[in-house]
C-alpha cells in the first residue's frame, strides 16, 4: 500500500468573485522510502499540493489517503495529531521559535505528542540534533546559528517524532549553494535510511537529488518520471 495517495484531488480557492483551481484532478501515489521532488513554476499548484499532503489543508473534492486513512473527514484536532505523528515539516524560512533554544525547538513535537518526561524529551531531542550534526549546539538560540545550522535544527525537529513522511518546502531557498548541498545531502541520507522525503522546489539542481520528479503546471500533474539521482547516492 502506498504511504501517500491522492485520488482525483481538486482544490478550489475563492478569490473575490473568481474561483481559482489551485489543484485540478491530481492523482498520484508515493510509496514508502521514496525521495520525490515536486517541481513547477510559482502558481503551478505545488504549494497547495504540499499543504494537502501535509494535512494543513483539505481537498475540495477527491480523496487523500495517508497511510491508508482518508483525511477528508478528520477534524482539526485529528489533523493536528496526524501532523504530529506522521509528518515532519521543513520550511524555506526555517520557522523556528525565536528566543527558544535549539533543544527546546526540537522538543516541541514531543511536547504535543504527550511525552511528559522532560528527561525523555531531552534525550530524544539531543539524539535528533546529533543526527543532523548539531550535538554541540543544543543550547544555542536560532539567532546564534547560521542559516544552514537553523535549517538543520528544523530538520531535527521534523525527525524527532520519527514520522514516516518528511515534507520539505523549498528547504534551500534561503541558503547559499554550499550550505544547500549539505542540507540536500542530509535529506538524501534520510531517504536512504527509509524515510519518505517529498521535496517541493523550483530549482532543477535540487530536484536532481530526488529519484522521482513530479512536474506541476496550472494545477495539473504534467510529468511523473523516475530518474537516477545525480549526486548523493553515496
Amino acid at each position: 500500500m502506498a504511504l501517500l495517495e491522492l485520488r482525483d484531488v481538486t482544490k478550489v480557492y475563492r478569490m473575490g468573485d473568481v474561483d481559482v483551481r489551485a489543484l485540478d484532478g491530481v492523482s498520484v501515489q508515493i510509496e514508502r522510502g521514496e525521495f520525490v521532488a515536486i517541481m513547477g513554476a510559482s502558481g503551478s499548484g505545488k504549494s497547495t499540493m504540499m499543504n494537502i499532503l501535509g494535512c494543513l489543508d483539505r481537498p475540495t473534492t477527491g480523496e487523500y489517503l495517508l497511510d491508508g486513512q482518508s483525511v477528508a473527514s478528520k477534524s482539526r484536532a485529528e489533523l493536528a495529531g496526524l501532523r504530529n505523528r506522521a509528518i515532519g515539516f521543513v520550511f524555506q524560512s526555517f520557522n523556528l521559535l525565536s528566543r527558544t533554544s535549539a533543544l527546546e525547538n526540537v522538543e516541541l513535537p514531543l511536547l504535543y505528542a504527550g511525552v511528559s518526561s522532560g528527561a525523555e524529551r531531552e534525550k530524544r531531542a539531543t539524539g535528533a540534533l546529533t543526527r543532523v550534526g548539531l550535538g554541540e549546539r543544543v543550547d544555542h538560540l536560532p539567532n546564534q546559528l547560521s542559516g544552514g545550522q537553523q535549517q538543520r535544527v528544523a530538520i531535527a525537529r521534523a525527525l524527532v517524532n520519527k514520522p514516516p513522511l518528511l515534507l520539505a518546502d523549498e528547504p534551500t531557498g534561503a541558503l547559499d549553494s554550499k550550505t544547500s548541498v549539505e542540507v540536500m545531502q542530509l535529506l538524501s541520507d534520510l531517504s536512504h535510511e527509509g524515510m519518505t522525503v517529498v521535496l517541493v522546489t523550483h530549482e532543477p539542481d535540487m530536484a536532481a537529488w530526488a529519484r522521482r520528479v513530479l512536474v506541476m503546471k496550472d494545477g495539473k500533474l504534467v510529468s511523473d518520471a523516475k530518474q537516477q539521482p545525480v549526486k548523493g547516492a553515496a
Binding site: G54, A77, A80, N84, N95, L97, P109, Y112, A113
Partner: protein
C-alpha cells in the same frame, strides 16, 4: 501536554515581555487592591455600627410616657408621666415575648468624692436594667433586689465616672460618693463600654436603686415613674411581637378606648439599628462596586494585551500547529497566559490591598475588618476576569489557519 507544562509555557511567554506583563497585571493588581481596601474599610464601618448597637442591646424597646398638654402647648413624649410601677411589673411578668423590663429614670447631678467632683447623669433603676443593657460589673457587683427593697444608698459607677472621681488607678469600691448631698457607697464599677451609636460616652454614668432614686434624688410622683421603661424582647425576631404585646397591655391597663391615641410611645431600637445598618451596607456595596469597576478595567487591559500578543505571535501559533498542536492546546496555552497574568496580579493585589487598608485605617483612624472570604472571592474573581477576558483572544489564536499563520510576517 499536562497542566503543569502549559503553566510553565505561560510563565515563559510572560517572562519574555516582563515589563508588558507587569503593566498588564497592574490593572488587576489595582483592581484587586481596591476591592480589598474598600471592602475592608466598608466592613469595618459596618462592624462598628453593629458593635455599638450590640452594646446597647438590639432587642431593646423604650416605652416613653405620654405628652403633657398645658394651655394649648403640647409637650413631647415623656413630659407627662403616665407609666406606673404597676405597669412596669405587669410588663415584666405578664408578657410572653418580654424577657425583662426596667425603669430608666434620669437626673443630672454633681457627684462628689473626697478629692474630686464630676457632673454626670444618675439613673434610678432595678437589677433587670443590667441584664437588658448587657452591662456587667468589672469590679464589685451591680444592684440587687434587696438594694431596691431596702432603698439602700448604694451606687454603681461607670468606668469614666470612677476614674474622674478616684483617679485611674485608685480603688473606688467601698468609697463614699455624695449625690445631691446624699452619701452613697460605691458597690460596683462597670466594664468599659465605649461610645454609643450617637457618640455618647456609655461609661459616663452612675446607677442607683429605683427606690433610693425616687425618695432621695427626684421629686416623687406617687405611683408614676418620671421616665421611660426599657424592655428587652426574648429575641431579636420577637421585637415586633413584644412591641405589640406591650402596646395592647398598656392600652388595656390605661383604659384607652378603641381609636383613641396611646398615652405612651414605644421606640424600637432595632429599627434605628437596621436603618444605620442599611447605611453602612450601602456604603459597603458602593465601595465594592467602585472596586469591581476597576477590576473590570483591568480585565479589559488583559484582553487588549492578549489580542496584541496573539497577533504578534501568529507565526509561532502557525509553527506550533504545524508540529502538531491541536486547537485545544493552543487555546489552553493562551488562556493560561491570561489566567496566570490575572491570578498573579490578583495575589499581588491582595497584598497591596491589605497594606493600603492598614495604612488608611492607621492614617485616618477608620475601623478595619479584613475578611478572608473577601480575599478568596477577590482572588477567584480576578482569575475569572482572566479567563473571561482571555477567552476571546485564545479562541482567536486556536481558530487560526496554520497555512496563513505560517506565512504571517
Amino acid at each position: 501536554m499536562g497542566p503543569l507544562q502549559i503553566f510553565r509555557l505561560a510563565l515563559k511567554a510572560l517572562r519574555r515581555n516582563l515589563l508588558r506583563s507587569f503593566l498588564t497585571a497592574l490593572g488587576i493588581i489595582i483592581g484587586v487592591a481596591a476591592v480589598i481596601a474598600m471592602v475592608s474599610i466598608g466592613e469595618g464601618a459596618k462592624q462598628q455600627v453593629e458593635a455599638s448597637f450590640a452594646s446597647m442591646g438590639t432587642n431593646l424597646l423604650i416605652v416613653m410616657p405620654g405628652s403633657s398638654m398645658s394651655g394649648g402647648a403640647r409637650g413631647g413624649f415623656g413630659s407627662q408621666p403616665t407609666l406606673t410601677r404597676d405597669d412596669l411589673k405587669a410588663i415584666s411578668t405578664e408578657l410572653t415575648m418580654v424577657d425583662a423590663a426596667a425603669p430608666d429614670l434620669r437626673t443630672g447631678a454633681q457627684l462628689q468624692s473626697e478629692e474630686q467632683n464630676w457632673a454626670t447623669s444618675v439613673h434610678g433603676t432595678t437589677p433587670s436594667f443590667f441584664r437588658i443593657r448587657k452591662w456587667n460589673a468589672a469590679r464589685g457587683a451591680t444592684l440587687t433586689d434587696s438594694d431596691i427593697d431596702s432603698g439602700a444608698k448604694v451606687v454603681v459607677l461607670g468606668a469614666t465616672v470612677a476614674e474622674k472621681l478616684f483617679g485611674a488607678n485608685a480603688e473606688a469600691l467601698g468609697q463614699l460618693v455624695r449625690i445631691k448631698g446624699v452619701p452613697f457607697q460605691v458597690v460596683g464599677v462597670l466594664e468599659r463600654k465605649g461610645q454609643s451609636a450617637n457618640g455618647q460616652d456609655n461609661d459616663d454614668t452612675a446607677l442607683v436603686p429605683l427606690s433610693t432614686f425616687l425618695s432621695r434624688l427626684s421629686p416623687a410622683l406617687g405611683a408614676f415613674l418620671p421616665g421611660p421603661i426599657l424592655v428587652s424582647a426574648v429575641s431579636g425576631e420577637a421585637v415586633p411581637r413584644a412591641q405589640k404585646q406591650v402596646t395592647d397591655l398598656l392600652r388595656e391597663r390605661h383604659r384607652i378606648a378603641v381609636g383613641a391615641d396611646d398615652d405612651f410611645n414605644i421606640r424600637n431600637l432595632a429599627e434605628v439599628a437596621s436603618a444605620q445598618q442599611q447605611g453602612a451596607d450601602t456604603l459597603s456595596s458602593l465601595l465594592a462596586s467602585i472596586a469591581a469597576v476597576s477590576l473590570l478595567v483591568g480585565g479589559i487591559g488583559i484582553m487588549n494585551i492578549m489580542l496584541v500578543s496573539v497577533t504578534e505571535r501568529t507565526r509561532e501559533i502557525g509553527i506550533r500547529m504545524a508540529v502538531g498542536a491541536t486547537p485545544g492546546q493552543v487555546l489552553a496555552q493562551f488562556l493560561s497566559e491570561a489566567l496566570t497574568l490575572s491570578l498573579l496580579g490578583g495575589l499581588i493585589g491582595v497584598g497591596a490591598g491589605v497594606l493600603i487598608a492598614q495604612q488608611l485605617s492607621a492614617g485616618f483612624g477608620w475601623p478595619l475588618l479584613i475578611r478572608t472570604d473577601v480575599i478568596f472571592i477577590a482572588t477567584a474573581f480576578s482569575g475569572l476576569v482572566g479567563v473571561g477576558f482571555g477567552l476571546y483572544p485564545a479562541l482567536k489564536a486556536s481558530r487560526m489557519d496554520p497555512i496563513t499563520a505560517l506565512r504571517f510576517e
